[in-house]
């Protein structure tokens, strides 16, 4: 479980996050949604400590993350898997080396054991016969899947994904969403996904937090979202009339 309590963050005097409190549940796919520039990426990066918050608290289970020193944060981060918007695979390493990297750094496993774990993770994300390829030789969807494999290779308790569907076609988006949900349930992880893709919200949004202008406007499940009386949320969801028709028809 990740618990965010009254956090504030500003850049050059401009408030980007204001008094945000939210609990991300274990074993569930928790979504942060909002339009571009609403502050959701800043919220995610604050949760993982890439941005220092101005005030408030970020708890990972019973550990106050923003109260830890560098070494403490470093240790906790080894228990987090992060999927970045652009995948962030290391260009100079092959697929196998990329996925193996966290094990190289933090375990004393033999090469055979590491290779076995890499192959297991790659198989889990449906990547086969690509161990020796470099990231530049992969499609966008494959890169995302390799990045997911790297994120779960150390069996983390927390999976945090920033716009996992950006730049992907609808079919690959559904694949990635499904994969994130399956892995969350399989590994009992606390998963936080940052997205503005309504398809993701409807598919995997077990716990959805809506952020607008740096403030939390709404929280609930994907089943509740269409019944919401929050005008700002409705404006965001039904910005596209086709989306509205599709969502209503589906439900």
């Amino acid at each position: 479980m990740i618990r965010v309590v009254n956090i504030n963050k500003s850049f050059s005097g401009v408030n980007v996050l204001e008094n945000i409190s939210v609990t991300f549940k274990k074993g569930k796919t928790n979504l942060i949604i909002g339009q571009s520039g609403s502050g959701k990426t800043v919220l995610l990066k604050s949760i993982i400590g890439l941005h220092d918050i101005d005030d408030g608290e970020i708890w990972y289970e019973d550990t106050l993350f923003n109260g830890l020193d560098f070494e403490g944060k470093k240790a906790l981060r080894q228990n987090m898997g992060v999927l970045f918007q652009g995948s962030a695979l290391f260009d100079s390493l092959t697929v196998e080396q990329n996925v193996m990297f966290p094990m190289d750094m933090f375990t004393n496993k033999s090469m055979e054991e590491k290779r076995e774990q890499v192959n297991l993770c790659l198989k889990r994300v449906n990547i086969v016969n690509a161990n020796e390829l470099f990231p530049s030789e992969l499609s966008g969807g494959m890169r995302k899947r390799v990045a997911i494999a790297r994120a779960i290779v150390l069996n983390p308790s927390y999976l945090l994904c920033d716009e996992p569907n950006s730049g992907l076609d609808p079919k690959n988006s559904i694949l990635i969403d499904g994969l994130i949900k399956e892995l969350t349930e399989e590994y009992e992880m606390t998963t936080v996904v940052n997205t503005h893709d309504m398809n993701s919200v409807m598919e995997i949004g077990e716990n959805v937090v809506f952020i607008h202008n740096g403030k939390k406007y709404w929280e609930g499940s994907n089943k509740d979202i269409l019944k919401s009386d929050c005008d700002t949320l409705n404006d965001f969801i039904f910005a596209n009339s086709l989306a509205k028709q599709l969502i209503v028809r589906r439900n």
């Binding site: 890439l50 240790a75 080894q78 987090m80 962030a88 260009d91 190289d104 750094m105 933090f106």
Partner: protein, 247 residues
């Protein structure tokens, strides 16, 4: 002034981060070997060509400026040797490397920054500054003195070939000249300078790349700044070290 002090402070903090305890020595060892190949061995060609031409030009210019019967011709060899050992092999080599390695380092690290690869390292609990920059520093500290010695040898050989083929000096006189009144400390002085220059080029260029914000345009700008600032800083240190080591 405020901006300068702020940048200097960030540079010092980056150095502190670089020299903190590495996560796993074995990984750093592999990275260092890779950097030796990439930054060091990859620079041999350009250093050899430039040093050869430099030695040839120094010999010919010294010859044309000392066309006087009272000057013994072996002084051409002596002049070439001292110019190359004292200044050209270390400083010019460093300036060439600032251009080649500096832009390479800044653009590599800068691209990693804007594509979130550095964030990914940090998120894994890896000290990104140390993992990316320390092997480069160690590799250049190991290899820059070797490149400097190579530059001395090739430069002096270039001078001999140019001098003999154009007929401005005989091979015997040239060899006598490069041996005449030789002070071994000049080589030590040059190698000490090369170590400082290697450190300056690597850290200043890494600093420029590590703190890039924005996109491809900013990476290009950081690459240019890396070359300009590392060249200026190493020239400044050239003056300081010369005063300290030769006075």
């Amino acid at each position: 002034m405020e901006k300068f002090l702020s940048s200097l402070g960030r540079y010092v903090l980056l150095l502190k981060k670089i020299f903190s305890k590495p996560e796993k020595i074995g990984i750093y060892y592999k990275q260092t070997l890779w950097e030796v190949v990439s930054l060091g061995i990859g620079s041999i060609g350009i250093i050899a060509i430039v040093s050869f031409i430099m030695g040839a030009v120094i010999t010919l210019q010294t010859a044309y400026n000392t066309e006087n019967p009272i000057y013994p011709t072996y002084l051409i060899g002596l002049g070439t040797r001292d110019s190359i050992i004292l200044e050209f092999s270390s400083t010019i080599t460093a300036l060439i490397l600032a251009g080649k390695m500096g832009s390479n380092i800044a653009s590599e690290i800068g691209t990693m920054r804007i594509t979130e690869q550095i964030d990914a390292l940090e998120m894994m609990g890896v000290n990104s500054a140390s993992y990316l920059i320390l092997p480069k520093i160690v590799a250049t500290l190991m290899f820059n003195p070797i490149l400097t010695i190579l530059s001395m040898v090739v430069g002096i050989a270039g001078g001999a070939i140019a001098g003999v083929t154009t007929g401005v000096i005989s091979l015997q006189d040239y060899i006598y000249g490069i041996q005449y009144a030789f002070i071994p400390y000049y080589v030590t002085y040059s190698l000490i300078k090369s170590l400082f220059f290697a450190f300056i080029i690597t850290t200043v260029s890494s600093y420029q790349g590590y703190y890039v914000e924005g996109g491809a345009l900013e990476v290009g700008r950081s690459s240019t700044r890396a070359v300009v600032f590392s060249s200026l800083v190493l020239l400044l240190f050239n003056v300081i070290l010369t005063q300290l080591l030769l006075s």
